[in-house]
Amino acid sequence: MDTASQIVIRPAQPDGDLAPLRAQVRAFLAETVGDRPPQKRAQSWSGYDPAFSLALGAKGWIGMTWPKAFGGQERSMLERYVVLEELLAAGAPVGGHWVAERQSGPLLMRYADPEVAHEIVPRITRGEVRFCIGMSEPDSGSDLASIRTRGDRVDGGWVVNGTKLWTSNAHRSHYMIALVRTDRSADDKHKGLSQLLIDMRSEGLQVRPIRNLAGAEHFNEVVFDNVFVPDRMVIGEPGQGWAQVTAELTFERSGPERYLSSYALLAEMVDHADADDARHAVELGYLVAELSNLRQMSRGIAAMLHRGENPQLAAANVKDLGALFEQRIPEVAHQLFGHELRPDGSPFVATHCHLTQTVPSFSLRGGTREILRGIIARGLGVR
């Protein structure tokens, strides 16, 4: 039994002709977000600035791999990867378009009514339209297939009732892609689920913000009270929601946002450390080595996807390793520097404060660590 051979990531080729693109992106970022303080950079892909998303769209750097017919540039996955990692390393406020670019656009192009897709996807590439993902519910977190929000057939569409929870950016979004149960008679809970594209201005839809532990309002409860969704807004075939969602989740598994979320604090530590202090050098050396290797893994996965391979299992490994790395950074900062955590302290301390409170979510969002490891275990053939 050669399990190990199934999780090999082949390294991506070095930058080569990507170097000019990287230089362009860096120049753009220096101009637009060069003076952003580290505690803002540390917001990473939760950072929100609609004007920045529009500017990025104008550069052609949102949905850049997509067909021109959808407003894309037909550039390669590796070119996209360069743009994404530069955005994140610079701590650019990409939250306005991140989910739409990563998940919603590809999903719509693949499964949505072509007319709907052609209407909406080009607006994603311009950075105009924001999406949220309606998956979790009050009683359905890791056990996603147990969701109860339901869509009932009516003339010309579906009527949705229920509640979605932990929906990031729902209060700022134009659309939600919601997973709902459209057939309650199915014997298997994975069957009878559908993905619906829901206009957030719909009648009967209410968004209630939920403050997180840091006092910020990023995620929400979304209540549906007889919300009508026309047939043309059903994404894919009714009943195929589970398969579509599973495929969608693999898009979000191994990108650079899975290891760069705490980068701002690492850079601050490197700036403030003492090269002659062996503890500083060793601990930061570990982190730099891991950063380098995670980047190679993540790029390798991007290159494999580019070649049409399906490194699903290794992508789950990379996500798990990436979250462990991101979560360790504020711990190392605590061990090496021992700051008292004053949110109004220096930029370094404020960054440390922010990430200390944020990192617990890194192994929850997009599926908990335990679920992820269960997926890995299944890939290893033991489940």
Binding site: I7, A273, H280, M297, L380
Partner: protein
């Protein structure tokens, strides 16, 4: 067939032949005999006759002229089988010799490292009948190797780097062994004639050989050595993952295979994480070997593989339970190597300190450009 496809074909061919060769040859009896100190002459001869030891030697020298990226799968495959011979060490010496333009001799070889402090250091002397070596060096498999490859300093003018290929015949040997029973010997050369030698004066050439990097230590570990042991660790980790998954699916407790328990599944997933990370680290390091500055990636590889070795060994033993703690069970042939190799040619902490010191000196703003540079890290 384009150039890339030809490269991949060579890589696949070398890997297949290593897999076949070592997979069929290495037995537990050999491992036991090697650990008792017996040289596995038949195994060595079979491997050498196959030509695989000349992975990196030039075609005009009877070699495959592979680069490290092409050679890596073969080195991993050999390491996976725990072959108790200095195969990776010899192949790596072949790479050094090819760069120096020295023909690769037959027989096992290893890199020699300076032992101890200044008076003991390896010194080269040019004489009428060629170069000669004085000094004490540490050599893996020293009692068995036919030659050592050593970077010595020239006596006159003092300080120039001289790379020598020196036969071990006649040297004094103080034997030692690592935790896995692999020979780790100290060799004393007194006015020993070199088979060949090259003076390397340009810093760029020195850098390409992984020497001459700034360091605070009198005898810094070799980055090339770090890469060799990292590759071996990554290979053995693959074996450990396969073996541990297999065991978990076969061992029955509470009426079902222990692999059915979530606690075990989580452990196996973490073990797989380590294997993925280690393999990537050596793949990146091997890809970097084409250009100067490769030593940065070799350092990263040793940090990642060293950490992975410790964590993976712990998980593998935990999943195997008491049986894995016995001498009869084969797991220890892997784990004792992992524990030994992570400490050789610089521990993960040693290289982490090098990497960290440089990063701190360069500052936070320089970190991302360095990580994304073609010779990254």
């Amino acid at each position: 067939m384009n150039e890339r496809e030809q490269e991949l074909e060579l890589e696949q061919m070398l890997a297949d032949s290593a897999q076949r060769l070592f997979g069929n040859e290495v037995t537990t009896a050999q491992l036991e005999a090697a650990e008792r100190g017996e040289w596995q002459a038949d195994l060595w001869r079979t491997v050498e006759d196959s030509g695989l030891t000349r992975l990196f030697a030039g075609e005009d020298d009877g070699g495959a002229a592979a680069d490290w990226q092409q050679g890596m799968p073969a080195l991993l495959a050999a390491s996976r089988t725990l072959a108790p011979i200095p195969f990776v060490d010899t192949a790596a010496c072949g790479w050094v010799l090819a760069r120096l333009g020295i023909a690769m001799p037959d027989g096992p070889m290893a890199l020699a490292a300076h032992a101890g402090a200044e008076p003991e250091r390896a010194v080269a002397r040019s004489s009428a009948d060629g170069w000669r070596l004085d000094g004490t060096v540490d050599v893996p498999w020293g009692r068995h190797v036919a030659h050592v490859v050593v970077r010595a300093v020239d006596r006159q003018p003092f300080g120039r780097a001289v790379w020598l290929l020196v036969p071990t015949a006649g040297c004094r040997i103080e034997t030692g062994a690592n935790l896995a029973g692999e020979p780790r010997d100290r060799l004393r050369f007194d006015d020993a004639p070199a088979a060949a030698a090259v003076v390397v004066e340009s810093p760029a050439d020195e850098a390409m050989l992984g020497a001459g990097a700034a360091t605070s230590q009198p005898s810094p570990p070799s980055p090339l050595g770090a890469l060799m042991r990292s590759i071996q660790i990554a290979g053995v980790l693959e074996r450990v993952l396969n073996q541990t998954v297999q065991y978990a699916t076969e061992r029955i407790q509470f009426g079902r295979p222990i692999a059915k328990f979530q606690a075990i599944q989580q452990q196996l997933a973490m073990l797989a994480n380590e294997v993925v990370a280690a393999r990537m680290a050596v793949a990146s390091a091997c890809a970097a070997m084409r250009a100067p500055g490769w030593d940065s990636q070799a350092m990263v590889a040793k940090v990642i593989c060293g950490n992975a070795a410790g964590r993976a060994a712990a998980i593998a033993h935990q999943v195997h339970g008491a049986i894995g703690f016995t001498h009869e069970h084969s797991l220890h042939w892997s784990t004792r190597r992992l524990w030994s190799w992570r400490a050789e040619y610089g521990s993960e902490a040693h290289w982490a300190r090098e990497i960290g010191t440089r990063a701190i000196r360069e500052g936070g703003a320089a970190l991302w450009p360095r990580v994304t540079a073609p010779q990254a890290a």
